[in-house]
């Protein structure tokens, strides 16, 4: 007998294990252990017993209802990994109850499928068509921010970007920025005022972005937070400049008489 474990990803709150058995198996117990965190709402389908084991939890299923050689069950409401790292793992073992022996085990790494969205991300600019653009990204991360994290801002490749970045955030005192290929900004080397873990909440200002020819929204921009190279918070955004103002407009009316046919000359 052997177990084949199909790798899977965390999809918010539901974990699916596909276990393929090479032989028909009747009486058994299935233990699944994970170093994830339980929530008070965690449960299984089919019903399981969930035990907290400190830094991980254990799930036990009795009298497995096999369909052919396959078992499928769900564990709901587990707190997903904080980042998209694959460091988290699940191990599975099958115990033959007759002999109470661990007859087969398998393990796999798990990873979250999606990063968390930034809780708040508003983008504002008051620049007009034809002016260089300054963006204020007002944001709050959903997860805790660390001095060793990296923030990457990728702007639309249609932009010819320039160089000046600033952060308005009481948490951050210093940082370094790098602009690559005129559209990618990397912020790192943060010095924080406190070592107490907290969310990143503030404004990132990006200046000297190339001017726009119209108010057409510029899409294809994203801001991402990485820890140890793994993405944990991300959001896309667009921005839009405001119309420029025409000047030197003159109107000349040949006759000012009410309800009269006349000519209006408009010079723009």
């Amino acid at each position: 007998m052997s177990i084949k474990i199909t790798p899977f990803t965390w999809d918010q709150t539901k974990m699916t294990l596909n276990l393929n058995f090479l032989t028909h198996w009747t009486r058994n117990l299935l233990n699944v252990t994970s170093n994830q965190v339980l929530s008070s709402m965690s449960y299984c389908v089919p019903t399981c017993t969930i035990q907290t084991m400190g830094s991980f939890f254990s799930v036990t299923l009795n009298n497995l209802a096999l369909q052919g050689t396959q078992l499928q069950f769900y564990i709901y409401n587990i707190i997903s990994p904080a980042t998209l790292e694959t460091a988290d793992s699940v191990s599975v073992s099958i115990i033959e109850t007759t002999y109470n022996s661990n007859v087969q085990a398998g393990a796999l790494s798990v990873a979250s499928k999606y990063p968390n969205n930034l809780q708040i991300l508003t983008v504002s600019t008051t620049n007009k068509v034809g002016e260089q653009v300054s963006l204020d990204l007002t944001l709050t991360t959903q997860d805790l921010f660390s001095a060793s994290d990296t923030i990457t801002i990728t702007l639309s490749t249609t932009l010819s970007m320039a160089s000046q970045i600033n952060i308005t955030n009481p948490l951050v005192t210093t940082f370094t920025s790098q602009v690559q290929q005129n559209y990618k900004i990397t912020l790192s080397g943060f010095t924080l005022v406190t070592s107490i873990p907290s969310q990143f909440s503030g404004i990132i200002g990006i200046h000297n972005i190339s001017s726009q020819l119209s108010v057409k929204p510029v899409t294809g921009n994203a801001i991402s937070f990485f820890r140890n190279g793994a993405l944990y918070d991300q959001s896309t955004f667009s921005f839009q400049v405001v119309p420029a103002t025409m000047s030197n407009i003159t109107l000349a009316l040949a006759s000012q008489n009410a309800n009269a046919a006349t000519n209006l000359t408009v010079t723009v």
Partner: protein, 283 residues
Amino acid sequence: MGVNSTDNLFIKVDQAITVNNCTTTTCSTCTCSITPSNPSAGLLYNSIKINNFPFAALTTDLSYSITVLLGIKNPISSGYVLSLATTDAQNYTKEISTASFPNIVESTISQEIFSLAKSIDIVYSNTNFTLTLNFLNYSLINGWMIIEFDPNIVLLDPSNPYCLSNGNNNCITSTSNGYIRLNITVSQSITVYIVNINNLRNPNSTKFFNFKVKLTNIDGLVYYTLTSPSYLASKPYQLTPTVNSSSCLNSQSNIVTINFPFLPFTPSQAVIVDDSSASAFNG
């Protein structure tokens, strides 16, 4: 403004200003088109679109000046604002602005459109008037025509006035501070108005009088004003005094007593014309 050949310039003009035609006088390649207002479809302005500017698209638009000549019919009041905008080929806005439409003044129209016929032409006599107003060369708006009479013309029975406009009762008669005032319904599709008003009394002298006419829209905004030609009751009021003489002998002292009938109005002055062959002995 900054434009290139794929851009558009839009001028939005309030629906109260009729736009009949459009030309661009300083751009030979440019074209100009008009989308009229359509209130039933929610379009409350006329949209003038100018495009085909003579510049290819560049990373930075060239500054360009253009003059557009619009054939319009003025609104009837001031306070309108034109909206201007340039857009790219996908109709994304590039520049915007507004400009105040020049102030409008009331039009004074020719008094030749006005004529008056009186049934009686005698001073201080009962009469009927027929006013004819021919607006053939003017553009009317649905609303009102207000005709104000000279104060020396009196409506004899204000509680029971007789006033018809083109034979209909679309004429409201009122008096205020001694003035007769007519409010007549005006339809933009009718150009001639024949107004009959009866039971009037001519002025108490042959002094000239005229009429003040205003045309308003349905909200009372005046767009045309007119002062009619001057008219008069050309025939004086007839006096038929009785004369008594104390003596009928030639070259004798005589006291002539002239009894005038009661005058229904107070004349400002009276002149007695004597026989030129008679002479007065005592003043």
